[in-house]
Symmetry: C2
């Protein structure tokens, strides 16, 4: 049986994860709004940010910083959108604390803030200009995760089980 | 001479701050996009998130969590948008790392993601539905800071000088 990581109600195959620390793990995206858009997730499936302990908060963002440096470099970006949609009324769709890490370049969206419109499944605007926002194949996601695992200093399946 | 805190090129009067920890401080907003929209700022004036040390990252977000709990309660919100615009291409306008903390309620924006459109001064859309987004008076800001200081457990001017 394939090993999985819990992300809210979803059992994510380990092949889509690219790091795991004491309190956080990284996932590539089924529907990235830009190439390189990844998630840093709390290992404990807390719904809201306020539920995390100080150690969990610190690890989530120290790892988030490490991941974001790598994502910016790999995708030749020059900025990052770092965002937690904390609660349904803020656009959270998976009830499990996760940080979005999105590489940004000047002019990458017609309007700079369309990045957020794309991010949010509750938006009522049609997503007409987001060709990448289609579900990817498991093979595509696993390939991206392998690159990120190598960049971030290795991976050991046993560390998350 | 009035004491100030450095926020990028801006000297912010201490009266507009509401907490200071080892590595972070809180500021009320000149142009909040919603009542209760505040900033958590790194004490060291680093431009990009990647420049922060692990201790600075941890303190910024542990304090950010403390602030966000208080903001959500005071503003009777049920969610929060927590966001760093990390670099100009991500909409950062003040070149000094800061976390936006924005209380959210269902339907508070016509489109959920208009929160980000308002957040971002680089957006090219007119801000027609944002009556609060006008500069506030120093007295208004100081009054809000006093409430937050009390809620967050006191304040000592000497802690930031």
């Amino acid at each position: 049986m394939e090993k999985t990581l819990r992300f809210g109600p979803i059992a994510v195959p380990l092949s889509q994860a690219f790091f795991a620390s004491k309190h956080a793990f990284g996932l590539v995206n089924l529907k990235p709004i830009r190439p390189g858009h990844v998630l840093v997730v709390s290992r404990r499936p807390a719904r809201r940010f306020a539920e995390l302990t100080p150690d969990e908060v610190a690890d989530l963002f120290v790892q988030g910083q490490r991941v974001s440096r790598t994502i910016e470099r790999l995708h030749r970006a020059e900025a990052l959108t770092l965002c937690i949609q904390d609660g349904a009324a803020a656009g959270q769709t998976v009830p499990h604390v996760h940080l979005h890490v999105i590489p940004r370049r000047p002019g990458d969206f017609a309007d700079n803030d369309d990045v957020y419109r794309e991010l949010d499944a509750t938006g009522r605007q049609p997503r007409v200009d987001n060709p990448e926002c289609t579900p990817r194949t498991p093979a595509d996601m696993a390939a991206e995760a392998l690159v990120l695992r190598a960049e971030l200093g290795g991976w050991d399946d046993s560390s998350v089980c």
